[in-house]
């Protein structure tokens, strides 16, 4: 088995304060390894996005530790967390979050630019990434000129262009029709074949589970089950601290 790319150990997260306090994550133990596409599934408000945010170093856990490529996020400030995201993680968002004033090529190149990679080499890497998602012909197009599926593929190209160890995708197919959703997942599944890369996809869509190597379920802030591939049913946690 590949080394752990991301690991959450006894992670809890409390959001808000006072009467509005919510225990969004409760004692989460999760390891993401290379070469795997993991799906995180659960109902609305179950803590999927919060877990993605904690694993993606955007939120600091209230308790527990997160490690990304062996680097602990404990005590890290905002700039340090940004550096970990920059060095190791690619993100794909439900609403794409492309820059409307930049072309597809520039949107992808931007992910390299923030990493200090510029010039002709960066441009050709960006174009290669777009070619990998089948959008070589859309390099000069602006997001407004692309369909939803195409925009999400640009977002995938942006996520993979820096060759990150982990790709975290939040509901990447939620705004797409079935065919486009399948297409996006197949690209992500192909991306996850790299043994040095782990892909975590948060989704509601049970039709996409066939693309997963591993399916984790979460409910009320706790991981409630895991199954491998498209077979089997989630196993139930028997005790706190059981890891996935």
């Amino acid at each position: 088995m590949s080394d752990a790319i991301m690991a959450a150990e006894s992670v809890s997260k409390v959001l808000g304060s006072g009467a509005g306090q919510v225990h969004a994550l409760k004692d989460i133990n999760l390891t993401l390894r290379g070469g795997e596409l993991t799906m995180l599934m659960g109902p609305s408000g179950s803590g999927k996005t919060t877990l993605l945010s904690v694993l993606g170093c955007m939120l600091a856990p209230t308790a527990g530790t997160v490690q990304v490529c062996g680097q602990s996020t404990e005590g890290a400030g905002a700039e340090k967390l940004a550096a970990i995201r920059r060095d190791h993680i690619g993100f794909i968002f439900q609403n794409y979050h492309l820059f409307p004033t930049l072309t597809a090529g520039e949107n992808v190149q931007l992910a390299l630019d923030v990493r200090g990679q510029r010039g002709r080499n960066a441009r050709s890497k960006a174009y290669e990434a777009l070619a990998r998602v089948g959008l070589a012909h859309k390099i000069p197009s602006y997001p407004g000129e692309l369909s939803g599926g195409e925009q999400q593929r640009v977002a995938i190209a942006r996520a993979i262009v820096s060759d990150p160890s982990a790709i975290l995708a939040d509901e990447p197919t939620a705004a797409l029709d079935g065919a486009n959703g399948q297409s996006i997942l197949s690209i992500l599944a192909a991306t996850a074949r790299d043994p040095n890369r782990s892909v975590l996809v948060v989704t509601h869509d049970s039709r996409l589970t066939s693309f997963a190597n591993r399916i984790i379920t979460i409910e009320d802030g706790r991981l409630t089950g895991e199954r491998r591939g498209s077979s089997g049913t989630p196993k139930l946690l028997t005790a706190a601290g059981d890891g996935y």
């Binding site: 550096a83 920059r86 979050h97 930049l102 931007l110 630019d113 942006r158």
Partner: protein, 377 residues
């Protein structure tokens, strides 16, 4: 072009209306500063015009003299003592003063008479377009500037008028010797200037000293001061500075010009700050996305700063074009707007500083961005 610059420029140009509003604000502000400072320089040049054109190493003036137009008088007998001072090559007497110019129509208008020893070429009229300095030695001969032809009721050589009951005749016409007080200058010979301004033979307005080539100016100045306790000996630069200081700051004119310029800077800063802030707010999702994908704060600041700099450069260029037009339009006026390369460089620096300071509010807004917001929008 670096991508952060591309992003900055596209963010700016994407919303054309806001960009135009920003440009109007910057251009208004920079033109205001440019004109105010140009007037300051122009005024400064105007008030020292006579001193700058005089041929003198040192000016001997009555103690406490504030400016060239000061009516204080010196004892004419000082001439001998000053001439005998070691290092002095030549002492020339200058008589100046306001007087009344009576047109042939009988109308009276004030003039400022400048009388010097024309043979010594101390402060003769310059930019002469008709006649010559030599012609001014004739009885009643004076030189006036063409721009005052209507005020003085003369337009050509030979035209006559009257100064304090003395008949005068235009023997030379100049161009561009305008007075910041709007009172026309009348150049004439020293001897004739005295009755025109009522300065008796035993008095003088100034003594202009020319030094011997090997003389030490500080030593001579020290020795000149020993001749009388009522005098000061100033270099041309010192007298210029004193005159400029009196007219610009003693009268409050300079302070008013600076206040106008400051107002321009404040207006510009507020407008740019407001538009940059609203632009940043509109693009907040994009800045959050940048943060989410791992961008450092510094990278995000660079995008905002480039927006500020692009605003500054374009705004400055447009303002400079307007400034150039203003300079041309006022060049022949009573108070020209003077924009020198150092002033232009200073205003460019000020524009950059103004836009950079304006960017701070936008940066403070970006500082509060939580990258998690990308999951909820």
């Amino acid at each position: 072009m670096p991508l952060n610059v591309t992003l900055a420029s596209r963010n700016l140009f994407h919303d054309r209306l806001r960009f135009v509003a920003t440009m109007v604000g910057i251009v208004f502000s920079v033109v205001l500063v440019m004109v105010q400072m140009g007037l300051y320089l122009g005024f400064g040049q105007m008030v020292t015009k006579m001193i700058d054109h005089a041929s003198a190493d040192l000016w001997v003036v009555r103690k406490g003299t504030k400016c060239f137009e000061d009516p204080s008088l010196l004892d004419a007998n000082l001439h001998r003592a000053l001439s005998g001072t070691a290092g002095v090559a030549r002492v020339s007497t200058l008589v100046i003063g306001f007087s009344d110019w009576k047109l042939s129509s009988g109308e009276i208008t004030p003039v400022f008479v400048v009388g010097s020893d024309l043979a010594q070429d101390v402060l003769p009229p310059w930019n002469i377009t008709q006649g010559s300095v030599k012609d001014l030695t004739a009885p009643g001969a004076v030189a006036v500037d063409l721009s005052y032809d209507q005020r003085l009721g003369v337009s050509k050589l030979g035209d006559k008028a009257d100064i304090r009951g003395h008949s005068v005749r235009v023997a030379a016409l100049t161009e561009g010797i305008r007075s910041f007080t709007t009172t026309p200058y009348v150049f004439t010979d020293l001897g004739r200037a005295r009755p025109y301004v009522g300065v008796p033979n035993n008095k003088a307005s100034y003594f202009l000293i020319k030094l011997k080539p090997d003389a030490n100016i500080e030593t001579v100045r020290h020795d000149l001061l020993q001749t009388s306790s009522d005098i000061e000996a100033l270099t041309s630069q010192q007298f210029s500075d004193r005159s400029r200081s009196f007219w610009l700051f003693g009268t409050g004119a300079g302070a008013a010009l600076f206040a106008g310029a400051l107002l321009g800077v404040i207006v510009g800063t507020v407008i740019v700050a407001q538009t940059l802030y609203s632009s940043t707010k509109d693009h907040i999702d994009e800045f959050a996305t940048l943060r989410a994908i791992g961008s450092s704060n510094r990278y995000i600041y660079s995008v905002i700063m480039y927006q500020a700099l692009i605003n500054a450069v374009i705004g400055f260029c447009l303002a400079a074009l307007i400034g150039y037009a203003v300079v041309r339009a006022t060049s022949a006026g009573a108070l020209p707007v003077v924009i020198t390369p150092p002033l232009l460089a200073a205003i460019f620096t000020l524009t950059i500083a103004m836009c950079v300071v304006s960017a701070l509010t936008a940066i403070l807004r970006v500082l509060r961005i939580d990258p998690v917001m990308v999951f909820t929008r």
